[in-house]
């Protein structure tokens, strides 16, 4: 099967996340799947971690790696987890698929000191032009789905995210953008909002 562009992207996401997580911290990975990100973080950054996913069958691999796993629905919140239980809470490529993103973001920063959030930028120029010139619901290599089968039910841009953080007194401490196949550390939001396929942010409470 041909490798999907998004899968390749998520591979490079991982390399970036590895650089954002300090050595030896505790990590909660939301939407962890088979805990392969945690496994990589454990191997390279010596983290200790827990994985959360709604799919119990995926979590079995995490158990075998020695991680704690918790089967749960992010849309129901994470009330079973106490405040400040982890150093980092990671939610990569998951924000756009949850029904209740505000609850999830609030929970992230309640449970963790820092959050790492990665999501596709729906204001990227290809999507804009597809909508403007083609008159079609947005599609791109990073968002290859049709309107009827997309798991991405929350459509947000990088500017939307910054606005939200500002209103909620959330501080963005680090930012990374995937633009034209390369990851950039920093650029004006007018540029990133137009050119970035993916934004990846480290956030914390102000």
């Amino acid at each position: 099967m041909k490798e999907r562009y998004v899968d390749r992207l998520s591979r490079t996401d991982r390399d970036v996340i590895l650089t954002l997580v300090p050595e030896g911290v505790t990590v909660l990975d939301l939407g962890c799947g088979d805990c392969s990100l945690l496994a990589e973080l454990a191997a390279k950054r010596k983290i200790r971690g827990t994985g959360v996913d709604i799919r119990g069958d995926q979590l079995v691999d995490g158990l075998a790696h020695g991680f704690n796993v918790y089967q749960g629905d992010l849309d129901e919140g994470l009330a079973d987890f106490p405040d400040n239980a982890y150093d980092y809470v990671i939610m990569n490529q998951t924000l756009q698929v949850v029904k209740n993103p505000l609850l999830v973001l609030t929970e992230m920063l309640r449970i963790g000191r820092f959050g790492i959030v990665g999501f596709p930028n729906f204001a990227q120029w290809r999507l804009r032009s597809g909508l403007f010139f083609g008159g079609r619901a947005p599609k791109s290599p990073a968002l290859p789905f049709e309107w009827y089968d997309t798991p991405n039910i929350r459509v947000l841009s990088i500017r939307d995210f910054f606005d939200y953080c500002h209103r909620q007194s959330i501080q963005v401490t680090q930012e990374r953008y995937l633009m034209a196949g390369r990851w950039l550390r920093r650029a004006p939001v007018t540029v990133t909002n137009l050119l970035a396929h993916i934004g990846l942010f480290v956030i914390t409470r102000k």
């Binding site: 505790t26 945690l38 454990a42 983290i47 200790r48 971690g49 827990t50 119990g56 069958d57 979590l59 079995v60 691999d61 995490g62 158990l63 075998a64 790696h65 020695g66 991680f67 704690n68 796993v69 918790y70 089967q71 749960g72 009330a79 079973d80 987890f81 106490p82 239980a85 982890y86």
Partner: protein, 379 residues
């Protein structure tokens, strides 16, 4: 006999205490001597560090895997989980299962002879608790030369024993697997146990517990019928039996056993009387009713602060006797204490019985968990 079976097994016996030096029970009463019948599968390693204790539920016993007789096809109650290459892999682990005290399969219980009278205890047997059952298991584990269990696992009332072990002897439990269980028996479950006990004690053949021979078979069968309903889900009853009639094609207009579900429950009830003692049923259900971690160890959050084992909790989506919410209550209490705990809910139509019948998913989970126990990547 399948290749993944532990093969022929022979139960063993261990006796401790005596009439002069008896075991002191939680109630304050004493019991002695105490006999424990148990089986082991696989081999201990040099340090005896690979032992896994399996705890059985209400109607289970020490015969968890393999065969007793080459001509008897009946295997142990968790044979699908225990054996070479299975979840509790007997090539790696030394697996032990003991009959609980108060039971009727060889360990000291109401059927045993009271040394004071020379006749069976009957209802003169002291009330035992889950704590007492664990205390007796602890004596066995000491006797076997085990200082720390690699793991301990059980479902339903077996899960109660797992929790009791993790709280009572935290330093002896490296990991714990608690399946379809709870921190206390719910009012609803006590209610069903109470109906079962009523059925037994109101049977004239019970004779205030002093029956000889068959005893209150009707009462015990009725108790089992009620119990069995609580082990299954509505969905399963519907798909397996529906409103189907057992043999006739038209209604009989009398009170004979008519629906397939009636016939099934009758069969389950009467089969149970062939293998279980009515007084023992009273004692064990009472022990379940008394189980309440908060009563013994304080509020869950405080109680679980002393747990050091890596814990795995499994629940089943259609289990209404020990629902997922009761499992999550324990998971939350452990998470609050920053304890290493995992939780998975298995999607299953089989109700509470799922832990015995639907083992494929459980096997994968347990296999993964046990292999991950030695790793130190969990916070």
């Amino acid at each position: 006999m399948d290749r993944n079976s532990v093969g022929i097994v022979t139960p063993q016996k261990f006796t401790f205490g005596s009439a002069e030096d008896p075991m002191v029970l939680e109630s304050g009463r004493t019991l002695g001597p105490v006999e424990i019948v148990y089986e082991t599968y696989g081999r201990p390693d040099a340090e005896r560090s690979n032992a896994i204790l399996i705890c059985h539920a209400l109607s289970g016993n020490h015969h968890a895997a393999g065969y007793h007789d080459p001509h008897d096809p009946q295997t142990g109650w968790w044979d699908t989980m225990i054996g070479p290459g299975k979840a509790f892999d007997t090539r790696r682990y030394w697996v032990i299962c003991a009959n609980i005290i108060g039971g009727c399969k060889g360990s000291t219980g109401p059927l045993s002879i009271d040394p004071a009278t020379g006749t069976p205890y009957g209802v003169n047997f002291p009330i035992v608790t889950v704590g007492d059952m664990v205390e007796a298991q602890k004596r066995l584990v000491d006797h076997l030369g085990i200082t720390r269990l690699y793991s301990i696992a059980g479902g339903s009332m077996g899960g109660f024993q797992v929790l009791e072990w993790a709280l009572r002897y935290p330093q002896m439990v490296r990991s714990a697997i608690c399946i379809a269980s709870a921190a206390r028996l719910s009012a609803q479950a006590i209610a069903f146990n109470s109906v079962g006990r009523s059925a037994i004690t109101r049977d004239p053949e019970w004779k205030a517990g002093a029956y000889n021979g068959k005893g209150p078979e009707h009462g015990l069968a009725t108790a089992r019928m009620v119990g069995h309903i609580t082990y299954l889900s509505e969905m399963l009853l519907d798909s397996k039996f529906g409103r189907r009639l057992q043999s006739a094609s038209r209604l009989s207009y009398n009170f004979a056993t008519e629906f397939a579900i009636e016939s099934y429950l009758n069969h389950k009830g009467s089969a149970f009387t062939q293998r279980f003692d009515a007084n023992s049923y009273l004692y064990i259900t009472k022990a379940m009713d008394y189980f309440d971690i908060s009563r013994s160890y304080g509020p869950l959050k405080e109680a679980f602060a002393q747990v050091t084992a890596r814990c795995l909790f499994v629940s089943y989506s259609s289990d209404w006797l020990f629902p997922t919410s009761q499992t999550k209550e324990m998971v939350r209490a452990l998470l609050c204490n920053g304890k290493p705990v995992s939780f998975i809910e298995i999607d299953s139509p089989y109700g509470h019985d799922a832990f015995l019948v639907e083992v494929e998913k459980l096997s994968r989970i347990v296999t993964g968990f046990l292999s991950g126990v030695p790793q130190e990547v969990a916070p």
